[in-house]
């Protein structure tokens, strides 16, 4: 497997390339392909009655006309039977990226898929088709070689946010999660990793001494602090990972509103301050060079989806942050920047000292975030608890609400 190439510095005399997007229009049925791809799965419509697998998405089964269609995961394995190199396109986004390699894949599951081709795929050969979110935020199909995948492929890079050679800001660099992330990013070959520290006087510098990392002052509760940092590094951040959080273990009956307000200041308003200060600069650099600004990661909580009453104020602040993050995602998509939401269960950190296991190790969380960036995934539910709660959430939101009462 060959490695990503280090991008060359931008020629400052040239105008910034303004971001363009691939066509994002889809039928409502086709959005289910996007929904699965957002979590890294390749799903196609299966007929409940006759088991036919079909693509493109339809309203009824192509074989038996049943309307009982289910979206289920498929392997994506198939035969690449024809390929072409397209030298022109009618869309600005693709005009900047021709020639395009496209092909016809007869999937083992049945249907024929027209797909982007990884540069190592040539007909006839066995390939694996995946659904990936592209810069428009919608799913498209790409055929990958069966062998280890060369990540230098330009179309694959467009659809993912590999941290290699990219400059990353971790908004809280002194937490266990922040430290684990810094380590994982350095290992993944990131460029500069900035570690935000809200109260620099509280902690010795040596505790944060990781190679290629730089400590920067950043207090999410202080608008001036956020803007000051954006003024210094905002034009260089390729990936922003918001790990800052305040997490009290209280039900709303326990305390006054100060606890809730303090959590909202960091978890909700802190994200808003970041979005306002860093969002525009990242959007402006979304098409620059070989490694443009690419992703924004928010550390949320699985309890943003359904509140854990014993952590009621925290759950509420994360639910607010989720709503805000969806707003941010809608804003950032205009530049093709991916907003990744991470929904862990209890993390094995200072806030959850009294929470019994299973708990998610910060290193495992860090690994999941790096993997999400590499794989181009948009929603991540890392660890056993998050997976369990998510499964229950999908089965019945109301049942889950009851189940969380006494936890």
């Amino acid at each position: 497997m060959s490695e990503l190439q280090e991008p060359k510095p931008r020629n400052p005399v040239r105008a910034l390339r303004r971001p363009t997007l691939p066509p994002g229009g889809r039928s409502r049925a086709a959005l289910r392909l996007t929904a699965a791809a957002a979590e890294g799965r390749f799903e196609l419509q299966h007929c409940f009655e006759c088991a036919t697998v079909q693509y493109p998405p339809r309203a009824v089964c192509v074989n038996c006309l049943s309307h009982r269609l289910e979206w289920r995961e498929v392997s994506g394995a198939g035969d690449l039977i024809a390929d072409t190199k397209l030298h022109h396109s009618n869309e600005l986004y693709y005009r900047e990226r021709v020639p395009l390699r496209l092909g016809t894949v007869k999937l083992d599951a049945g249907p024929v898929a027209l797909a982007h081709l990884h540069r190592d795929c040539a007909a006839p050969s066995r390939v694996t088709v995946r659904a990936h979110l592209d810069k428009s935020g919608q799913a498209v199909l790409i055929a990958l070689p069966e062998d280890p995948v060369d990540r230098n492929d330009s179309m694959l890079r467009e659809m993912t946010s590999d941290p290699k050679f990219r400059n990353v800001l971790i908004t809280d660099g002194k937490s266990a999660v922040g430290q684990a992330l810094a380590k994982a990013l350095v290992e993944a070959g990131a460029g500069i990793v900035w570690l935000g520290v809200a109260e620099p006087w509280k902690q010795g510098a040596e505790a944060l001494a990781l190679p290629q990392t730089e400590r920067v002052p950043l207090d999410l509760t202080d608008e001036k602090s956020v803007r000051d940092l954006a003024g210094v590094i905002g034009g260089k951040v390729d990936i922003l990972i918001n790990t800052a959080e305040l997490h009290h273990n209280h039900t709303i009956a326990d305390r006054g509103t100060e606890t809730a307000r303090a959590e909202m200041e960091v978890n909700y308003l802190g994200l808003m301050r970041l979005a306002q200060a860093f969002g525009p600069a990242m959007r402006a650099r979304a098409a620059e060079g070989a490694a443009p600004a690419t992703a924004w990661v928010n550390l949320l909580s699985i309890y943003a989806l359904s509140a854990l009453p014993s952590h009621g104020t925290f759950s509420a602040s994360k639910a607010a942050a989720l709503a805000l993050s969806q707003n941010l995602r809608s804003d950032m998509r205009r530049a093709g920047i991916r907003v990744v939401n991470v929904f862990p269960g209890p993390i094995d950190d200072e806030w959850n000292q009294l929470v019994p296991p299973p708990k998610l190790a910060p290193s495992a969380l860090a690994k999941a975030i790096v993997a999400a960036l590499r794989d181009g995934v948009e929603d991540v539910y890392p660890g056993d608890v998050a997976q369990d709660v998510m499964t229950r959430f999908r089965e019945s939101q109301k049942v889950l609400e009851r189940e969380l009462w006494d936890q």
């Binding site: 229009g25 493109p56 072409t84 397209l86 869309e91 496209l102």
Partner: protein, 386 residues
């Protein structure tokens, strides 16, 4: 055995000259075609009691809106969104209407405009499958589909670029004598082979050029045509098919393969009897598929057939004698009519360009609508000299 089209004829082929780009709308081109038909037949507008329309750029109107736009009160109306198959399908629909007495004179018209940006906009919303599964890949229009088909066909059956080039060069030769052709210069095989790549293995002269224009013809009883003093051609057989062979992973054959025996049985003639063929030709590979599927040679023998024949007007099989879409231009849905109007002209002696000597029987075939990965509509007709 299907009923014959006895007593029904096709007449008055008209062409509204093609232009690369136009500021006019589709209504303008279709209106001109209708006016040309009326003038050619020497009838009053009110005598048209049937109308059949095909157009890609008529939105938000359909044939219904056109009746008010043109001040017509037809008792029979059809709107066929079948692209390159619309000429054949319009003919067989209209012929049955006349035969059954539902209409006396049916005007069949097809046309489109081409604004500087309309092609891109049409592509983006061509079909639901195209919008969901093709256009997002950056593939504008049928170039991708035909590139994949051409590359697959070449590998499967060993045809070479120069074979496709022979067809394109012959059509250009035919076009040089056809006044409405947008391409006025001869094409050499070297120019064809060395043109700039568009979508491998397709190069520039493999790809049809979108333009604006319109075509039209009239369908009526033989008796009426004689009374009007109109030269006409007989309708000997027709077929249409949609979404043929859906399980073929690649479209190496079209609906013609399914229906050709039916076509020739109805016509009482075979491929070998045809004095010329007007096949749908937005890319040369589809010419070869039609020649195979319509029985001019076996499946996969297209390369040998191309090498063993000549396709100019004076050749062993005169093919696309006006120059076809590849050399005349593709005026949207009118591309599906170009072969039909040319076939009628060859059989009635009203040719605008080169004429096939003593042409008695001619084949017209259509192909249309790349909905996702293949063209869905196919059709063919055998016409005969009166």
């Amino acid at each position: 055995m299907r009923a014959a089209y006895d007593g029904v004829v096709i007449a008055a082929p008209v062409t509204i000259p093609y232009v690369r780009y136009s500021t006019r709308d589709a209504h303008w081109f279709l209106g001109r075609a209708l006016a040309a038909l009326i003038k050619r037949a020497g009838i009053k507008k009110d005598q048209l009691d049937g109308l059949c329309v095909s157009s890609f750029t008529l939105f938000p109107d359909t044939g219904v809106g056109l009746t008010q736009h043109f001040g017509l009160s037809p008792r029979w109306l059809d709107h066929l969104p079948m692209g390159g198959a619309s000429g054949v399908v319009a003919l067989r629909r209209a012929a049955r209407a006349v035969q059954a007495g539902d209409a006396a004179i049916v005007a069949c018209i097809a046309g489109d405009t081409n604004h500087v940006d309309s092609f891109r906009q049409n592509l983006a919303n061509f079909s639901r499958f195209a919008r969901d599964a093709v256009y997002p890949l950056g593939a504008g229009g049928p170039n991708m589909s035909f590139a994949l088909l051409t590359s697959h066909y070449m590998r499967q059956y060993g045809i070479e670029a120069r074979d496709f080039g022979k067809l394109c060069v012959a059509q250009r030769d035919n076009a040089l004598k056809f006044p409405h052709a947008l391409f006025k210069k001869p094409l050499t095989l070297d120019e064809y082979l060395n043109a700039r790549p568009v979508a491998d293995p397709l190069k520039l002269f493999d790809c049809v050029m979108p333009c604006a224009g319109a075509e039209g013809f009239l369908v009526m009883s033989e008796e009426r045509a004689k009374n009007l003093g109109l030269p006409f051609a007989r309708i000997l057989g027709t077929i249409e098919r949609h979404n043929a062979f859906p399980d073929d992973p690649m479209q190496l054959r079209g609906g013609w393969a399914l229906d050709r025996d039916d076509l020739y049985a109805q016509a009482g003639a075979g491929a070998a009897d045809m004095d010329f063929a007007q096949v749908y030709d937005d890319y040369p590979v589809i010419n070869v598929l039609q020649l195979e599927d319509l029985g001019f040679c076996e499946k996969g023998a297209g390369a040998d057939f191309v090498r063993g024949n000549s396709f100019t007007v004076g050749g062993s099989l005169p093919l696309n004698t006006s120059g076809g879409q590849l050399s005349v231009g593709q005026a949207g849905a009118a591309g599906g009519y170009l072969g039909m109007t040319e076939a009628v002209r060859q059989l009635t002696g009203e040719t605008l360009g080169a004429r096939v000597e003593n042409a008695r029987l001619g084949l017209v075939s259509g192909f249309g609508m790349i909905n996702y990965d293949r063209g869905l509509c196919s059709g063919a007709a055998v016409l005969g000299r009166a």
